[in-house]
């Protein structure tokens, strides 16, 4: 099933594999969205997941981020088998997802969004108050590390460009001590320049040691960013390729099934 034996975690236990999903199946009613899909992700790499609409990319990602529970199959994270009941559970284990809608609140400031639901507090007598200073500083630090055009942490998200919003959402996911950040079409709604900036953010994130799982329809982007590419077709990960050892034409052929893995 895998193209080169060196990519299989079983035959090459020395490879720095962070996550292994094996034989994941998931059905909705009579529809088999995932029929035994297996992928691996390595530490410090961008792994892309490509495939036609309905190939099962989203379902697989939702299984990894705890939104769906697989019907069967195993997920191994950092050598330990994990079962995610909820997205919160996945997040606690170090898997964060940047959804397409970004889950930001426009009326709130960047730093408020950054810590939404996990605010830092300090005691003030009997009551707990927001530690605004610490949150602002922490958010600013993370944003500046990641993005070139980092917005001010005190500005409202409403005033940010699409790319800046994406950067905030990615930085937020990265800031939660995550091992893996899953990104669903992060540049789908962005212009050329903004896309370049967000790609820079993704690269910086990878360089900082986080494993990125990138779902994208954009082949050029996948070739630019990814270290490893998994191609999905009809609920199965039909092929895995090193980005350096494949081409856009081959990927298209694998997606359409014109070429067997």
């Amino acid at each position: 099933m895998t193209t080169s034996p060196s990519l299989s975690p079983v035959s090459n236990p020395g490879a720095d594999v962070l996550l292994t999903a094996e034989n994941i199946t998931k059905s909705f009613g009579g529809i088999h969205a995932l029929k035994s899909a297996s992928i691996t992700m390595r530490r410090g790499e961008i792994t892309a997941l490509i495939g036609d609409n309905g190939a099962g990319k989203s379902t697989l990602v939702r299984c990894l981020s705890g939104i769906h529970k697989p019907d069967s199959g195993t997920i191994t994270l950092d050598g330990e088998q994990v079962v995610f009941e909820t997205p919160h559970h996945a997040s606690q284990s170090g898997i964060e997802t940047v959804h397409q809608n970004l889950a930001l609140v426009e009326e709130l400031a960047v730093w408020q969004n950054f810590f939404l639901g996990r605010e830092l507090t300090r005691r003030l007598g009997l009551i707990r108050t927001l530690d605004r200073k610490a949150m602002k500083a922490h958010a600013a630090e993370l944003l500046q590390d990641l993005a070139v055009n980092a917005p001010s942490v005190t500005s409202k998200v409403r005033r940010l460009s699409g790319g800046q919003r994406q950067a905030v959402a990615i930085a937020r996911a990265a800031g939660r001590n995550s091992k893996i950040v899953i990104m669903d079409e992060p540049t789908a709604a962005l212009g050329v320049q903004e896309t370049a900036r967000v790609e820079h953010v993704i690269n910086t994130l990878r360089d900082s040691g986080v494993a990125v799982l990138l779902i994208s329809h954009n082949f050029d982007q996948v070739m630019r960013l990814a270290d490893h590419i998994w191609v999905m077709r009809a609920g199965v990960a039909v092929a895995g390729r090193r980005a350096s050892a494949t081409s856009g034409d081959e990927l298209v052929a694998l997606i359409t099934g014109a070429r067997a893995a």
Partner: protein, 331 residues
Amino acid sequence: MPTPPGSRASTKAPHRMAPMLANIRELSFWAENAASIGLVALVIVFSFLSPAFLTLGNIRAMLIAAAILVILAVAQAFVITTGGIDLSISATMTLGAVGFGLSWSAGRGFVISTVIGILTAALVGLVNGLLIARGKVTDFIATLATLSVATGLALILSDGKPIAVNSSQLLRLTTGSIGIFGYPIILAAVIGAVAWFVMFRTRFGLHVQAVGGNDESAIANGISAVRVRIATYLIAAGLAGVAALLLVARIGAAEPAINTQYLLNSIAAVVLGGVSLTGGKAKIVGPIVGALLLTALTNGLTLLGVSQFYQPLAVGIVVVLAALLTRFQKK
């Protein structure tokens, strides 16, 4: 020849733009501070028209009269920040007053009666919260229904008659003061300060704003929108219960009367305060100033001898103007 006009035009351009920019800036400035500017304008106009307006006695009376509306406006501000609305707020206050009155006439003391009054009111808030957050009933419909239910209950429980309350503590509450600040407005100010702190300095307040701004995103970040909404309606109703105490103190009796004017004015004060009814944009000081403005407006018109019939009309006009102004708020 062509150079001078060209250079002239280029030096003239910023001149032409400057007033326009200033104007835009001014409009948004006006919109952001509509309540404060309106209040100052009213004070100036009324003090010109009536020498009695700016006397210490009248200021003191106005502040006491404003206390109930200030508290209700703060309560309403919390609900409106979540994107909801509480139409039952004045009926809740009435029911709380009746709860206080019944407890008092049953011989329970001031403190216990106060607690019972607040709890009675809070019960309405709990029902509102459960209906809206869990039952997914539209806030407008749910609180319209509880408005009717609370009004009816108040009438049934009191048999439609006012319950006289001769409490020395209540008397002290209405007559006591520090300087020109009567105890009612001090109570309202303390509530306002606590509300500001809760809204802008605690996790709960941030969650209220997040749920109002975008509940899907808030939920995605692990916030329970259901719990936040229930808590918000509970807080609003509890504050209405506190306002009920002031209402009883002012009248000297727990009256099951329908106080529609308080409902409309509480919403009007929040709108005047620059809070968007769509939610997510929290303000506490604005609604408080809005409540002061509405009270000053009523007071001034009364001093000028304008018929009471004109007061709702004046309030309506002011609110419409404020609502139009909010269009120019900075996004």
